[in-house]
Amino acid sequence: MAAGDKQPVVRVEGLTMEFHGIKALDDVGFCLGRGEFLSLFGPNGAGKTTLLKILGFLLKPTAGHVWMNGQEPDTRNGNARKEIGLVSHNSLLYDDLTVMENLEFYASLYGIVNPGERIEALLGRVVLYRQRHLMVKILSRGMQQRLSIARSLLNEPSLLLLDEPYGGLDPSASAMLTSHLKELRDQARTIIMVTHDLTRGLEVASKVGILSRGKLVFLQNTDGINPENLSDHYHRHLEVH
């Protein structure tokens, strides 16, 4: 947590989600302060995406609580949603709109008046300014993912959720994404990323967690953790659970 900033950006307690009697999440709890970057690992079906969907108000949990900046958000109120940004393996971008048109559309959803300057600054940061008049459908997967990051930052969210952002990226696009994520981490943004990729997840994170069958079985700061012992932790916890 950043010095002098004691209020957690997100606090989760007893989060449980059941689908037809099967627990996708089971009593999950953690707390993240400003500038913390949590990488969550786990096999398919561990509940990683379900957790992100709950934090993004796309799903209502069966039980448990989420506090954002010290308050339990009222999801019927749109203001709570302004605090969230989402980057997923789906780009959430319209193929038949240009880069600029996509960002202008999302800016209108967030009530951003005169978004031109902010959009241009974001496009500069993700190195897409020259492509601003190109249709999204002709961009490469890596460019689309960078545009997704720009889209998710339009509303200056307190919490950024990343759902398998490396999905479908080639090594050079992955390296570029890692550099953008490090940049975001250094800007003291609070980020939760779910991924299968232990090495890349560890590279950018300040905290790592392992979800197995809906339970958060491991949560630790990254100090002293390297890819080898993280891999040991990962396989040991999956065997136990």
């Binding site: 749109g78 949603r81 789906n90 959430l92 048109e101 999302y106 209108s108 959803l109 889209r151």
Partner: protein, 223 residues
């Protein structure tokens, strides 16, 4: 208001760039009008009610194509999640989608209705400006229930099959009221005679617009 305008602008831009939605709407209606005209034959007389039926069946089938594509753009790249995670109210999304459907249906009717009058004009004994009121009320009813049901079927892989199956039974009373009103108008009846049918059509449009406004939150979340 900004979100409402933004949603309409986005939907119109995407639909105009894809083109196929509007083209298929108009093409389908033209096909029905020509086939029915050939089936009736030259010199044969049909009742004003039947002429009205042909017009609105052509419009109904043409609208299916437009309504079916309402949410197709939101399914690609899971753009629907972008709407759900944003602070925009679901009712605003419903109203914007309904407005765009209304615009495309009205645009298609600007081609369909004049063509109908050319092909079937000899079966129409009287034409009055109140036809515009009938068209407006039908369009409001059709797009309100159509937008709601296309939202319900959007999550299905067989959206194109499911939409007419769910829509046709619900929309039948609206089409029947409209045919009765238009038939009376074509027969030269005074406005007071078909006004009750128009009131029923307006009530239908009002009920389903209100239902869509309040239920769309649940409809979107099911996707």
């Amino acid at each position: 208001m900004g979100a409402f305008v933004g949603l309409i602008k986005k939907d119109l831009t995407v639909a105009l760039r894809r083109k196929e939605t509007f083209v298929s709407m108009v093409f389908f209606a033209i096909l029905i009008l020509f086939i029915m005209n050939m089936a009736i034959g030259m010199g044969e007389k049909i009742s004003p009610d039947m002429a009205a039926g042909i017009l609105w069946v052509a419009v109904l089938f043409s609208s299916i194509s437009g309504l079916g594509s309402t949410f197709s753009m939101e399914k690609t790249n899971r753009c629907i999640d972008g709407l759900l995670i944003s602070p925009v109210h679901s009712a605003t999304v419903f109203l914007a989608k309904m407005t765009v459907n209304l615009a495309f249906l009205s645009l298609a009717e600007m081609i369909i209705v004049p063509l109908f009058l050319v092909l079937y004009g000899n079966h129409v004994q009287s034409l009055h400006l109140s036809l515009l009121l009938i068209i407006l009320l039908l369009n409001l009813g059709l797009t309100s229930i159509g937008t709601l049901i296309s939202g319900i079927t959007a999550g299905s892989r067989r959206n194109d099959v499911l939409l007419p199956i769910l829509l046709f039974p619900v929309i039948t009373p609206l089409i029947a009221f409209t045919i009765k009103a238009t038939g009376a108008l074509f027969a030269g009846a005074p406005f007071q005679e078909y006004a009750p049918w128009l009131k029923l059509t307006a009530a239908f449009a009002l009920i389903f617009s209100t239902a869509g406004y309040f239920l769309f939150e649940h409809v979107l979340r099911e996707n």
